[in-house]
């Protein structure tokens, strides 16, 4: 008797685990759109603006009458900065919700957790983040910029402006290490010299020893691929030591989590960065978009960066493809996307490149002044040249690989 009461614990657990499967999952005629992002935990500085623009995209689609006469239903999951939840929610979205498309992932690790799951359940997957490049997957569209689009532009620009000797600091994980490789390649191609490359664990907050090393090396400029909240300390300590006025900084990561707001104006003035989007992008779509966003979220809305804009444009690209295909089923939608589909978004025209399932897009170089990025140069319709080196989905569509997991060997860089 006692024992049968005790199994109450196990019994309740079983019932509880069943609950999400049975409650509130009534079948409707809606088209289902799932989003998995980190909305709490250490990565929420990236995830929160992405979630806002995703919501706005779905609202915009529905306000325009939905797709194919059906409403688009958004399900959002918070992966809580934990990889296992990505696999879990991807399974739930694909096999449970039967989502028509899943837009998910911030870090490359999260994307690599999702990709095989969604491939197995044949669910269309969008990854709307700038990353190190190299995904070659028929089922996966990567709308963010890659090093050949941004690093290739900011390195020559900064070297022309400041000089040939470069010191590289980067976050000690895959993105940082691979981006540092690209930086060295482009520095060498422009006749420059890389004095030293240093990598920092993501939780380092004291950069004193490195600042000494930079002072010893006397470079003409520092290029940074530092990432996350702790690394903001670098820019502050660098400015506090009076270095920013002597040796300027260019970056491929600063600002993507709106870091420019976390340091004061004089600590950031003059930093140069390159992305596929800045708020100053000069086109009517962008102006209208920002006005609507301010109206919706108020004057203290998050500053728009590439991640946030790609989340909006990714959703819109998918919507365009559904309209073109006349159905929300995966295969026709993929075909419509790969037919060279273009969407005119806030960042300018974004075109799917059928060879890689990446995007050709406008690329901007911005200079930071008083916590705001001013665009100093823009480049139109830049192709994802790095991924194109290793990926040809036209010739060989049946693949789903991540070629840069092996470093840059695939792209011919040692």
């Amino acid at each position: 008797m006692t024992l049968s009461r005790r199994n109450f614990v196990m019994g309740t657990t079983a019932i509880a685990l069943t609950a999400p499967a049975t409650i509130g999952r009534a079948q409707t005629d809606n088209i289902k759109f799932a989003s998995i992002l980190d909305l709490s935990g250490g990565l929420d500085i990236y995830g929160a603006p992405m979630a806002e623009t995703t919501k706005m995209a779905i609202e915009d689609i529905n306000a325009a009458g939905g797709l194919l006469g059906r409403e688009v239903e958004l399900t959002m999951y918070d992966a809580q900065s934990t990889i296992q939840f990505y696999t879990q929610y991807a399974t739930q979205a694909a096999a449970g919700d039967k989502a028509h498309t899943v837009h998910a992932g911030i870090t490359s690790a999260s994307r690599e957790a999702i990709r095989p799951t969604l491939a197995r359940f044949k669910t269309l997957y969008f990854y709307n983040t700038q990353y190190e490049g190299g995904v070659c997957d028929y089922n996966n569209f990567c709308t963010g910029s890659t090093p050949a689009q941004t690093v290739a532009k900011v390195v020559p620009y900064a070297m022309n402006k400041w000089g040939k000797k470069v010191y590289i600091v980067a976050a000690d994980y895959n993105y940082g290490q691979i981006t540092a490789q690209w930086m060295q390649k482009f520095v060498a191609e422009n006749g420059g010299e890389t004095l030293d490359v240093e990598f920092f664990p993501l939780d380092v907050t004291n950069f004193g020893p490195t600042i000494n090393k930079i002072q010893t090396a006397k470079p003409d400029m520092v290029i940074s691929a530092l990432v996350g909240g702790a690394h903001v300390s670098f820019y502050r300590q660098y400015a506090a030591a009076g270095m920013l006025k002597e040796i300027p900084i260019a970056s491929t990561t600063f600002g993507v989590g709106n870091e420019q707001k976390l340091i004061s104006a004089e600590e950031g003035n003059g930093i140069i960065a390159s992305y596929g989007y800045f708020e100053g992008a000069d086109n009517p779509v962008n102006t209208a978009f920002l006005e609507r966003l301010t109206a919706k979220l108020g004057a203290d809305r998050p500053v728009m960066n590439e991640l946030a804009i790609r989340s909006y444009e990714g959703a819109m690209l998918w919507a365009e493809a559904v309209k073109a295909a006349g159905t929300a089923d995966r295969d026709p939608v993929i075909e419509a996307l790969r037919s060279g589909l273009t969407y005119n978004g806030p960042s300018g025209p974004v075109t799917i490149d059928a060879q890689t399932n990446h995007c050709s897009m406008n690329v901007y170089i911005g200079e930071l002044q008083d916590q705001t990025w001013n665009i100093v140069e823009s480049f139109e319709n830049q192709p994802p040249a790095d991924t194109q080196l290793v990926c040809d989905l036209v010739a060989n569509p049946n693949q789903s690989t991540f070629l840069f997991e092996n470093g840059l060997a695939a792209a011919g860089i040692e």
């Binding site: 024992l3 499967a21 696999t87 870090t107 957790a113 994980y173």
Partner: protein, 346 residues
């Protein structure tokens, strides 16, 4: 050793194990496919909680870094499976690597008479070292055999295959059976271990180390033994985990996961085995359900729940429930006894 006696002591364990077996065979017919697939991850974490319940609840060793063995098992499995092209020996390698490392570390600390919170800090520190080092390994030069370490992004784990048949891989929904079976076997094994002479000596050392030593038991050896065994069990959890998630990343070694393991055991109750398992399922369900809502911040809700828990259910779920039942049963049993004695008198 009295066999009957052991069986009597193990009765609750066997009952729970039986319930587990029933659940294992019924669940796939009742639950949706994705719930079954996702349960594998929860089961893997429950095995981890079980291993800490053994070493901490019965061995009295506060191991703050139980995830080190869990993660080590997962990495060893993944690397071995990639190199061998099959999972059978890889599982064995995973258990061996984690146990061997635990034996080394255990020798280092227990024979140095490190104890108490200091032991917790050493194990936590070891975990953080793994975290820092493995996160570094993103370049192509970090390769063990055919397996690239992958740094922060981690490695894709090959799925389990049928024993010695590398051509037939298990689908995620089948891995559920394997995971559930592993959990039940580990649970029964732990339940048996604590009834043995070895297990009772460990409990004796937990209660009073000096007294146990004066009785002639070398407490260092017993601690080392239970520490090594629990590391092996954690490694089994690790193997299941990387199968459930599909990849293994250095994140398993971070402070958050190290602390989370401790929390499962505190919530479930120290000194029981089923408590931490149940607590793991409960908290896992809670955190994944929270991720599907966006009204309240997840950390906020989870924090409030944990605080209420520690204030209201300080002993943990399983001991509190047991107390409650015994308290309710006591008066009845006393009544029965009184009646019986009255009958006798009459």
């Amino acid at each position: 050793m009295n066999g009957n006696n052991t069986l009597r002591q193990m009765r609750p364990v066997l009952v729970f194990a039986f319930i587990g077996v029933v659940f294992m065979f019924v669940a796939p017919y009742v639950l949706q496919l994705f719930t079954i697939i996702n349960l594998t991850t929860a089961i893997a974490l429950a095995v981890l909680a079980l291993s800490l319940a053994l070493v901490w609840g019965y061995g009295g060793i506060l191991c703050f870094g139980q995830v080190a063995f869990f993660g080590l098992g997962a990495y060893a499995y993944t690397i071995a499976a990639i190199n061998f092209g099959g999972s059978t020996w890889a599982i064995l390698v995973a258990i061996m690597v984690a146990s061997a490392f635990a034996a080394l570390l255990g020798y280092f600390v227990f024979f140095g008479r490190v104890s108490d919170v200091y032991l917790g800090v050493i194990t936590l520190t070891v975990t953080l070292i793994f975290f820092s080092l493995i996160r570094r390994t993103s370049g192509p030069e970090y390769k063990i055999g055919n397996a690239l370490m992958g740094g922060f992004n981690g490695i894709t784990s090959p799925p389990l295959n049928l024993p010695w048949d590398t051509s037939s891989f298990l689908f995620p929904e089948h891995v559920f059976y394997v995971a559930m079976a592993a959990l039940i076997l580990c649970y029964v094994f732990c339940g048996w271990l604590v009834t043995t002479h070895f297990g009772r000596v460990c409990v004796g050392i937990r209660e009073n180390e000096l007294r146990a030593e004066l009785l002639g038991y070398d407490s260092r050896l017993y601690k080392l033994g239970i520490f090594t065994v629990s590391a092996g069990i954690a490694a089994i959890g690790g193997v299941l985990f990387c199968n459930g998630v599909g990849r293994i990343t250095p994140d398993v070694f971070n402070l958050y996961n190290a602390a989370l393991t401790i929390i499962w055991v505190i919530v479930g109750g120290r000194g029981t085995l089923i408590g931490p398992i149940a607590a793991t399922f409960g908290l896992f369900y809670l955190t994944s359900a929270l991720g599907g809502q966006s009204v309240l911040n997840n950390n906020l809700v989870l924090g409030v729940i944990l605080i209420f828990f520690v204030l209201l259910v300080p002993k943990g779920v399983a001991p509190t429930l047991t107390d409650w039942f015994t308290k309710r049963r006591k008066p009845r049993r006393a009544n029965r006894r009184r009646r019986r004695s009255q009958v006798n008198k009459a």
